[in-house]
């Protein structure tokens, strides 16, 4: 596997992989390791980190274990990041693909609508959507997907459009293969790598978005998220800065890891296939 090989050749990518792996693992296993959930009050409030090994990252204002909350927060962030990104990528690719493949009037109609979605300030729109449809995991994911699909559509369109003009695609069409088949088997595999790189970026943005929504009080109240922890810690910042610092730091580390991996994947993908002869 060339991707793995190239990832493993970069120390920063290895580190990112380990970090992200840990976050994912913790998030997935959270209910198994801490079946009591993140809301349980387990000790006295405001224990500082690294002072009580039973609660390595200390406790919050209600005496809940911060480490447990962070791990459950990872779960929420990843869940929202993945689901909303998948939705946005699928939808965006479909729209952009159709626009780029068929061109002409279909293209200008679809792209004009995409542009409209893109000109609307995304955070404001997300706030509006979540606020109106009341905060829940579903509404948050939907809102993030709604504001993040346009760039995918534009990318997919550009890629499909350029691929559509590529001679191997024309040759495939000339040989009698159907549009759908050509789009699926000739074009899609070739546009996948920029889409993957973009998806990595979008997961990051989705996590940031979710945290920002939680921060302004539009998070799902049933689940712990990093944004919620920051906003909860904010009030006690002067006394226990780590309650605000650590969740934000978790977001940062996760997104740094995703960005590094996205870059690494992007670097490793294209040149091999796309490289022209040297002269």
């Amino acid at each position: 596997m060339p991707i793995w090989k190239s990832l493993l050749s970069r120390p920063d990518a290895i580190l990112a992989l380990i970090l992200l792996g840990a976050v994912v693992l913790a998030g997935v296993l959270a209910p198994l390791i801490f079946p009591g959930g993140p809301w349980r009050m387990v000790a006295r409030p405001f224990i500082a980190p690294f002072t009580d090994m039973g609660h390595p990252l200390g406790t919050d204002a209600l005496g809940r274990d911060l480490a447990v909350a962070l791990i459950y927060g990872a779960r929420t962030s990843l869940e929202i990041g993945l689901v909303s990104t998948c939705a946005a990528v699928l939808f965006g690719t479909a729209i952009g693909g159709i626009a780029g493949f068929f061109g002409g009037r279909v293209d200008s109609l679809l792209m004009r609508s995409t542009e409209m979605f893109q000109t609307v300030p995304s955070f404001a729109l997300a706030i509006l959507l979540v606020a109106i449809y009341s905060p829940s995991l579903l509404s948050i994911m939907a809102a993030i997907a709604v504001v993040s699909w346009p760039p995918v559509a534009r990318l997919a369109r550009a890629e499909f459009l350029s691929m559509r003009r590529r001679e191997f695609v024309q040759a495939a069409l000339l040989s009698g293969q159907s549009n759908l088949r050509v789009a699926w088997s000739q074009i899609l595999p070739n546009v996948l790598s920029p889409l993957i790189v973009m998806a990595a970026l979008m997961i990051s943005m989705a996590i940031l978005f979710e945290s920002a929504l939680s921060f302004v009080g539009l998070g799902d109240p049933q689940v712990v998220s990093w944004g919620y922890l920051i906003s909860a810690g904010r009030g006690v910042m002067a006394r226990s800065w780590w309650l605000t610092f650590l969740p934000g730091f978790s977001i940062m580390l996760t997104i740094v890891s995703i960005s590094i991996l996205g870059d690494a994947i992007g670097d490793s993908q294209d040149p091999h296939f796309e490289r022209k002869e040297t002269e």
Binding site: F123, A124, L128, S134, S211, G227, A238, T244, I251, S259
Partner: protein, 322 residues
């Protein structure tokens, strides 16, 4: 040129119409009765009050008619009344907009200048220590929620060090005037503007760096070398200038997002702009205000896109011909 301006402007008008209609339908499509929503804090759900609101909002009319009235009012800059303050939403936004524009503008300039400078430095020192540092810095800023960075900045620069004030636009009651008042305003602006700028700054830095490295490989750069030009000049006049074109487009998008992003910054720094107005209106379900801010923000975004597009046409001769 004039033709382009007109056609581009017309295009934006269509977008605005779309946004307005979208916002209108969104609120109407929301679960529940918007009038009952708005009854909220003030109305105590009094049926008479809700009926009054329904009539005031024209909710008893068919949807297309409502939309028509809505658009008509909007054309007259009437964004409706805030039920909470009983004042025109337009006035409320107008009195806070300058603060938001100052904040977003400062953040925009800061991000653009610092981001470009950082990207430039990184590109010309590609692979060296300074490039690594800038790259790490931009990845970190790109990855951090900026409201969190803002909080940390308050903790450090206001709390621990006491260098900058943590909230508001001015030292209240100090009675400063003239230059002194301006200096006071700027002093208050430092933290919020920097905190809002970091994210965009990171994006610019990465973009400028990538774009410059790509441009540096272009044949015309090689040709300039072959002409015996000094490398510094080539970097500045050929590479940077040409690389800045894609940044222009990005700047349009970012400028708008910055305005929307002030919802967070203004909340953290108690900055009296439209972002915080929206945040507070959200809490109070003052939907006319929320929608008003949303529309105004959208329009600023659309406007800045328009300006950038026209600017781009002006800066990049190739698009002028097309």
């Amino acid at each position: 040129m004039l033709k382009t301006v007109v056609s581009e402007t017309a295009k934006r008008l269509v977008v605005i119409l779309f946004v307005v209609t979208g916002a209108f339908l969104l609120v109407r499509a929301a679960p529940g009765d918007p009038a009952a929503f708005m009854a909220g804090e003030a109305g105590s759900g009094d049926p008479a009050f809700i009926a009054h609101l329904r009539a005031q909002m024209g909710l008893d009319r068919p949807l297309p008619v409502q939309l028509g009235y809505y658009l008509r009012d909007l054309a007259a800059l009437d964004l409706g009344q805030s039920y909470r303050e009983g004042r025109p939403v337009f006035d409320m936004i107008a009195e806070r907009l300058p603060n938001t524009l100052a904040l977003a503008g400062a953040a925009f300039l800061l991000a653009l200048v610092m981001g470009t400078a950082a990207g430039f430095l990184a590109a010309i020192h590609r692979g060296r220590l300074i490039d690594r540092l800038i790259s790490i810095g931009s990845v970190l800023f790109f990855s951090s929620p900026y409201y969190w960075v803002a909080l940390m900045a308050i903790l450090l620069f206001s709390g621990k060090l006491g260098w900058f004030p943590s909230h508001g636009t001015q030292t209240i009651g100090a009675g400063y005037t003239g230059m002194r008042a301006l200096a006071d305003y700027l002093h208050h602006l430092v933290l919020p503007a920097t905190a809002s700028a970091l994210f965009s700054m990171a994006i610019y830095a990465r973009l400028v760096r990538a774009s410059m490295i790509e441009t540096a490989n272009a044949l015309f750069v090689k040709a300039a070398h072959a002409r015996g030009m000094a490398p510094v000049w080539i970097w500045l006049r050929h590479v940077l200038r040409t690389s800045l074109l894609p940044i222009t487009t990005m700047a349009g998008v970012q400028a708008g997002q910055l305005v929307a992003g002030t919802i967070l910054t203004e909340t953290v720094f108690a900055w009296p702009g439209i972002g915080r107005l929206m945040y507070e209106a959200l809490g109070a379900r003052d939907y006319n205000v929320v929608i008003g801010v949303f529309l105004v923000t959208s329009m600023i975004v659309i406007l800045s896109n328009l300006v950038v597009d026209l600017l781009y046409r002006f800066v990049d001769p190739r698009t002028r011909a097309a």
